[in-house]
């Protein structure tokens, strides 16, 4: 009928088209913010080692002494052809960088998300339904603590704890050197490669390495989700349609599940999508803590080298992930909430 697929696909198409202007704004911001920050790739690499004239020659060779607007337009032109350039400090194509290190970040963040959703949604729902009970107070406390604790500190404490209790458990890297060496790289996602290789030891080795980092990052996110689900369930439980459902004699557990919880999820899905950005920021810290070979580790390295091209490329990639997630969330919202489809 009127809520057919036609309006939904139109809605999705509009969301996807909007990605282009969003990316342009992001690229522009990243480009100028980097140039405004003090230091440049040449002084970061050779500052104090070469004379001022020699540095200027290198700057000229790289083309970073030209007017900013020229560099900006040239960069936009490249990006429009999906060419993100080569890193200044070690001359690697940015796309190779994303391909080689993106997989580790991907499995880390997805693992953290899955953990946070599995822990956060049921706990938040429980706390919201039994508001102000002891369970609620305990769950709220857990939510505040996990959200407030600095991620690197939680990571380090967990490493200390695990080393003490389970000395054999891996606390650093994405896999043992032997696994990295034996698994055939096909997809550039180590976990998938291990699964395709069918080598049980490799799979369990990679999975074991994922536990601590995913738990650390997921803990932060679960705090947000708990509080979010709780507040929205409480809000939805006050809804007029919830009272109306009770007036029809519908059992309380169905009232909570079909009426209150489903409506609470609409708001929760939106905010969880926004948390992707926070999770990526958290991933950078987590990767540093656990020596994880992901994009976060690479980004920190290139920021220290003032490598404009690498940082621009990586930040653009991070931004693209966030923007695509927000489109994905909009589509999901369109599917759950019939009112969203225009």
């Amino acid at each position: 009928m009127s809520s057919g697929s036609g309006s939904l696909s139109r809605y999705i198409a509009i969301r996807i088209l909007l990605v282009v202007p969003m990316m342009w704004v992001l690229l522009t911001l990243v480009f100028f913010l980097l140039r405004v920050a003090p230091g440049d790739p040449v002084s970061a690499a050779f500052g104090g080692k070469l004379s001022e004239e020699a540095l200027d020659v290198r700057r000229h060779n790289l083309g970073i002494d030209r007017p900013l607007i020229v560099q900006y337009l040239e960069y936009l032109g490249q990006v429009a052809r999906f060419d993100f350039g080569k890193t200044i400090s070690d001359n690697r194509p940015v796309l190779d960088l994303v391909r080689d290190n993106g997989g580790a970040t991907l499995t880390l963040t997805i693992g953290a998300f899955v953990f946070a959703v599995i822990v956060g949604i049921p706990l938040g729902r429980l706390a919201g339904r039994y508001r102000d009970s002891w369970g609620d107070i305990f769950i709220r406390l857990f939510g505040v603590l996990t959200y407030a604790a600095p991620i690197f500190w939680v990571g380090i404490m967990l490493v200390l704890l695990v080393v003490k209790l389970f000395p054999g458990w891996p606390t650093s890297g994405i896999a043992s050197p032997i696994t990295v060496f034996t698994v055939q790289p096909k997809t550039h996602v180590l976990l998938l490669d291990a699964i395709f290789s069918g080598d049980g030891t490799a799979i369990s080795d990679v999975l074991k390495h994922h536990v601590l980092p995913c738990f650390t990052l997921g803990l932060l996110l679960s705090g947000v989700i708990i509080r979010l689900v709780r507040v929205n369930v409480i809000q939805a439980m006050k809804g007029d349609y919830v009272e109306a459902a009770r007036a029809r004699g519908i059992a309380e557990r169905h009232v909570v599940r079909r009426h209150a919880f489903r409506n609470a999820l609409v708001a929760v899905v939106t905010v969880i999508g926004l948390q992707v950005a926070a999770t990526l920021a958290g991933a950078i810290l987590t990767e540093r803590t656990f020596n994880w070979p992901g994009l976060g580790t690479q980004l920190v390295k290139y920021i220290l080298a003032r490598d404009y091209i690498a940082v621009q490329g990586l930040v653009t990639f991070f931004a693209l992930i966030v923007v695509l997630t927000s489109v994905f969330i909009d589509v999901i919202n369109g599917l759950i909430d019939p009112r969203v489809r225009y």
Partner: protein, 359 residues
């Protein structure tokens, strides 16, 4: 409350069996200042196919009474007294048994139809959920047959059965809510200001639908409203509520043409119509329900107040014409106040009214 006289006014249409009977029903809310006596000893009965109008100003306890009757009260509230549904005292039932009666035996139609349907569920899902709750073994075909039948009566085309709530107008949503209540055929329905949020044309339509319930389903209906025009149009009997009490109850035409209680009289005088030349209102505000005034709750605002009104609570008495009212002044006027002394009959001095008003 032993002097209660049974109100035996026959409804306009054939009198049915008693469906609902409240005896000295009380509803409290807990607040920081103490219990609020939102419904303070209410007695009435309602028969099959009868429409009882419940009027009163905002905050007098109308809605609380309506919700109290079907047990849909917020946490921290309590009910006391007797509340019989077909002779069975519901207040003695376990919460689970009370819950099971809701929808099947006791229906409710709400004030704001726009927010009463779950925005994420299709109309058909609302109906199937409601029907399945009360009959686990009901078939899909039966669900559809019963839903479409009641939707047809409400004037909703069957093509809209699978639509979402936001695709309907306010008036249609209220008809959907009524259909959703009636699909279970409850013998008793509370309609809490069902037309307040709607425009006048839709209002007339909804009132006609409610009026026709009597013929179509033999439903006993408690129609809560502050619109006296609706009462005159749709109700057999009317109960006037003030500060948690029913101060007057009787045949709608009788109460409107010969009001016994000064509050009823003032309420009727305050009604605005095309012939209204000035605005009438009742001085003062409804009393605090945590500490209501002593004696008659209305005496601080009553133009007819006597000395007795500030000290002794009036009792419900039946008057000529069949109405029952709870008022010393009405008793005196109709020669029913033999128990009042001479001093008690003298008018209440004005200053005292002012003091009581401030308190």
């Amino acid at each position: 409350m032993t002097e209660i006289v049974e109100d035996r006014v026959t409804p306009v249409d054939a009198p049915g069996a008693t469906v609902l009977e409240a005896r000295d029903l009380r509803v409290w809310y807990a607040t920081d200042r103490g219990p609020v006596r939102a419904v303070d000893g209410v007695t009435f009965e309602l028969h099959e196919g009868e429409i009882l109008g419940l009027v009163g100003e905002s905050g007098c306890g109308k809605s609380t009474l309506g919700r109290g009757l079907i047990g849909l009260l917020p946490e921290g509230s309590a009910r006391d007294g007797e509340l019989r549904f077909r002779g069975k005292d519901m207040l003695k039932l376990k919460p689970r048994e009370q819950h099971a009666m809701r929808g099947r035996d006791l229906g409710m139609i709400f004030q704001e139809p726009l927010t009463r349907l779950n925005p994420l569920m299709r109309i058909s899902e609302h109906f199937s959920e409601t029907l399945k709750t009360h009959d686990k073994s009901i078939s899909k075909a039966e669900i559809e047959r019963r839903s479409l039948e009641v939707l047809r009566v409400m004037g909703i085309p069957p093509t809209r059965f699978h639509a979402y709530p936001h695709e309907f107008s306010g008036g249609m949503r209220q008809r959907l809510m009524i259909a959703l209540t009636l699909v279970l055929r409850p013998p008793f329905v509370v309609a809490d200001e069902p037309t307040t949020a709607l425009d006048v044309l839709v209002e007339a339509q909804i009132i006609r639908i409610l009026h026709d319930l009597r013929a179509n389903y033999r439903t006993a209906l408690l129609l809560i409203t502050h619109n006296l025009g609706i009462i005159a149009e749709a109700c057999d009997r009317v109960a006037v509520m003030y500060a948690g009490e029913i101060v007057e109850i009787g045949d709608a035409r009788e109460v409107f043409s010969r009001p016994k209680h000064p509050y009823t009289r003032e309420l009727l005088r305050a009604t605005i119509s095309l012939r209204t030349t000035g605005l009438n209102y009742i001085d003062g505000a409804p009393p605090d329900l945590v500490e209501p005034p002593p004696g008659c709750h209305f005496h601080p605002r009553c133009p007819d107040a006597m000395k007795v009104c500030a000290t002794r609570h009036p009792v419900l008495r039946q008057h000529d014409g069949g109405s029952t009212a709870q008022c010393w002044a009405a008793d005196l006027a109709d020669g029913l106040a033999d128990d009042l002394t001479e001093t008690e009959r003298t008018p209440l001095p004005r200053e005292e009214i002012a003091v009581a008003d401030e308190a």
